[in-house]
């Protein structure tokens, strides 16, 4: 009993000490900015690169990066915002999650900040009100879709980088008939790759990027229109060139199949680059989604993923605005994009990226027009949800269990059942 008492009293003392030791750091600096984020992986990059670079020009503002694990972020942030204990800068998820925060008054308007004109409308669209009049988060990073290929395999088989879809299909056929490599590594078991790295990767070339995306939102285009059916038709052509048992192949399976050198082409998101840098012991490169025969313009999915906004309850709004306008600079963009190969700053500056494959991806911004995934803004607010339907229908056509027309009709019917402009 005495022992228990002893240990109790020591722990109470320890807690009291700890509280005493911590509290001055919490209360003393009025101009300390705290960043809420779900990017726990990035804490080193923030502490060792981004924040020191910011402090070179703004030595008077302290910044602390305080991430929460991704799965807890949304709920945790909501609780902190409600209790007015959230940090000054809020890392924004794209679209409706952040739009809700703005509508509830937790995020401020940031249109007036210096440097906002460094961002295109596409980049800002993820953090704007539906009419595009107000922006509430600074676009911070995007991911780009394309194809990663095994350079050695292409050299061995004498294949040139395909620029058009017929060339692409010919390349797949050549790899298949040679037999050394699985032509393309993507599976349909986890479903999201079929939509994200399939449909949304090759689609913008067919629906002409933003034009088609806006057309769907405004109700001028339907998913049963020829340009969308063609996307499904092209996806359906992939089936015969995928690995054995691709219907049970998961996302990590696909990554492994490629990084072990057993597959020649990998439909990719730019975030895959760092995985392959670590695992693949052959040289790999990237090419943008091939265009339909005869088409001159190309379009890429340059999908907005991470933004940064200001907590409306923050006491340090001036400093927070200074931080945001610094984040829009070329310097910040370059540091950020190099530290995280595959995540690209969204400002219009030309970024110099040392990783060759990451640099190849971002170079397409100069040649092609950027768009974002067409199901993310507005169109996934109802039930059935367009994003879910696209997963399902893309898998259906790749597995051959749905015809392209059926898939298009299913997605369109689902959307039209709740979305007024499509009715």
């Amino acid at each position: 009993m005495t022992k228990l008492k002893f240990s109790l009293s020591t722990s109470v003392a320890a807690v009291a000490l700890a509280v005493a030791a911590l509290s001055p750091t919490v209360s003393a600096h009025a101009d300390e900015l705290i960043i809420e984020s779900w990017r726990t992986d990035d804490i080193d990059i923030w502490n060792s690169q981004i924040i020191p670079a910011f402090n070179k020009s703004h030595p008077d503002i302290k910044v602390r990066f305080a991430p929460t694990p991704p799965a807890d972020y949304n709920a945790g942030l909501n609780a902190k915002l409600a209790a007015k204990t959230a940090g000054d800068l809020i890392t924004c998820r794209p679209f409706d999650v952040s739009l809700d925060l703005y509508n509830q008054g937790h995020l401020t308007k940031i249109d007036g900040i210096d440097g906002m004109d460094n961002f295109s409308n596409v980049a800002k669209s993820a953090w704007q009100t539906d009419d595009g009049s107000t922006t509430f988060c600074l676009p911070m990073a995007s991911v780009i879709h394309g194809f990663i290929y095994n350079k050695e395999a292409f050299k061995e088989l004498g294949i040139e980088i395909p620029k058009t879809i017929p060339e692409f299909m010919a390349a797949l056929e050549k790899i298949k008939s040679d037999g050394t490599y699985v032509p393309m590594s993507i599976g349909t078991a986890d479903q999201w790759e079929a939509a994200t790295m399939g449909f949304q990767n090759i689609g913008p070339n067919f629906w002409k990027g933003e034009e088609g995306r806006k057309g769907l939102i405004e109700g001028k285009e339907k998913l049963t229109d020829a340009q969308y059916v063609k996307v499904f038709e092209h996806l359906a052509e992939w089936g015969p060139y995928l690995g054995k048992g691709y219907k049970a192949q998961s996302y990590p399976d696909s990554q492994n199949l490629f990084s072990l050198g057993r597959a020649a082409i990998y439909p990719a998101g730019s975030w895959d680059i760092s995985t392959f840098n670590g695992q693949a012991d052959f040289e790999f490169g990237a090419f943008p989604p091939p265009v339909p025969a005869g088409q001159k313009n190309c379009y890429i999915s340059d999908h907005t993923d991470i933004g940064l906004g200001i907590n409306a309850a923050s006491k340090n709004v001036k400093s927070a605005e200074a931080f945001l306008s610094w984040m829009s600079s070329k310097e910040a963009g370059t540091i950020f994009s190099n530290a995280l190969p595959g995540f690209y700053a969204l400002s219009k500056h030309k970024l110099e990226i040392s990783d060759p494959v990451a640099n190849e991806f971002v170079s397409w911004r100069g040649k092609c027009e950027s768009t974002i995934r067409n199901s993310y803004q507005i169109l996934s607010r109802g039930t059935p949800n367009l994003e879910n339907d696209l997963w399902n229908t893309s898998v259906g056509v790749m597995n051959g269990s749905m015809t392209p027309e059926e898939a298009a009709k299913k997605a369109q019917d689902g959307l039209a059942s709740w979305y007024k402009p499509q009715q």
């Binding site: 048992g245 219907k247 993310y376 994003e387 879910n388 269990s401």
Partner: protein, 310 residues
């Protein structure tokens, strides 16, 4: 026993005292949430806004809206298949194993029992992962194994094909849980007095007839209970499907069961926002389905079972 209560003072307070903790905990954690779920299914909520009473609207939506009805009946149908596979394969195998284990002179009976029961104790996530690897057409051992019996094309994508995914998942679940009916039936078989079987054997029966004519009738109440437990567990199932196929229960919802449908509705999925009230409606319907099944068991089957005083 000498503890006789006097006639007249027959109310025994200590019974209440003993029942209280269980009743309290059960009420707090089972009955109240259940009632609240049913209550909640009569409401509707705007995202972030107030909840309003809407009467039967949520139920009418599920039963009349084409999409909802299709999703719901599809999940119900798949769930039924899932249950039938368990009833036709898991329980007979459980019975067979229990009968084998209770044979006199079986060597290593305890080791078999432990080994067969082992998968039941493993986490479903591990089970799902192991079987995904075994059956993987890319790296799995399945290919080599079927090669031994002459299938040179290797294993088809059992978990990926629309025609086989649900059955494969059901069989994985059977493999995992076969230990439970085995244990329950085995315990019941141990209660069958040896002299009954011995008497039958003296009268000229062999072990086979002794099982069918003596042991099985005596353990039928346990078999019936195992069946109803299987029913309840299967219609509440969720974890294995979620671990192997994710909440979207692909391909094309061919492995979607009530549990995964509820999960998607309540918590939402990817960009789809969750709806607590629609989720409560789906959960209430699940409860109703299970309630009907259990009622059928209670009023139709259990009353016809003969119980023997042993």
């Amino acid at each position: 026993m000498a503890l006789k209560t006097k006639p007249g003072s027959s109310f025994r307070t200590h019974i209440l005292v003993f029942l209280l903790p269980a009743a309290l905990i059960y009420t707090l954690f089972m009955i109240l949430p259940l009632i609240d779920t049913v209550r909640f299914s009569f409401y509707s909520e705007e995202s972030g806004g107030p909840t309003t009473f809407v009467g039967w609207d949520n139920y009418i939506l599920i039963l009349t809206d084409e999409r909802w009805w299709q999703d719901f009946t599809n999940a119900l149908k798949n769930n039924f298949i899932f249950f039938v596979v368990h009833m036709l394969i898991q329980n007979p195998i459980g019975l067979l194993l229990a009968a084998l284990l209770s044979l006199p002179r079986l060597k290593l009976a305890n080791s078999y029992r432990t080994l067969i029961f082992m998968p039941t104790m493993l986490s479903v996530v591990i089970i799902g992962f192991i079987w995904k690897l075994i059956l993987s057409p890319l790296w799995g051992v399945g290919d080599t194994l079927v090669g031994f019996v002459g299938m040179t094309d290797g294993l088809p994508a059992l978990l990926g094909e629309e025609s086989t995914a649900l059955i494969t998942l059901s069989l994985i679940s059977v493999w995992q849980f076969v230990g439970i009916p085995m244990m329950l039936i085995y315990a019941a078989l141990l209660n069958v007095p040896d002299d009954l079987v011995d008497a039958a054997i003296v009268d000229g029966a062999n072990q086979w007839t002794a099982f069918w004519r003596i042991k099985l009738p005596l353990i039928l109440p346990t078999v019936a209970m195992v069946s109803v437990l299987t029913f309840v567990a299967n219609f509440n199932a969720f974890d294995l499907i979620y671990a192997v196929k994710g909440a979207l229960a692909g391909p094309d919802f061919h492995t979607d069961i009530m549990g995964t449908l509820f999960y998607r509705t309540f918590f939402g999925f990817q960009l789809q926002p969750g709806s607590a009230t629609m989720g409560a409606t789906v959960a209430s319907l699940m409860f109703l389905v299970i309630l009907c099944g259990v009622m059928i068991y209670l009023f139709v089957i259990q009353r016809r079972l003969h119980r023997y005083q042993l």
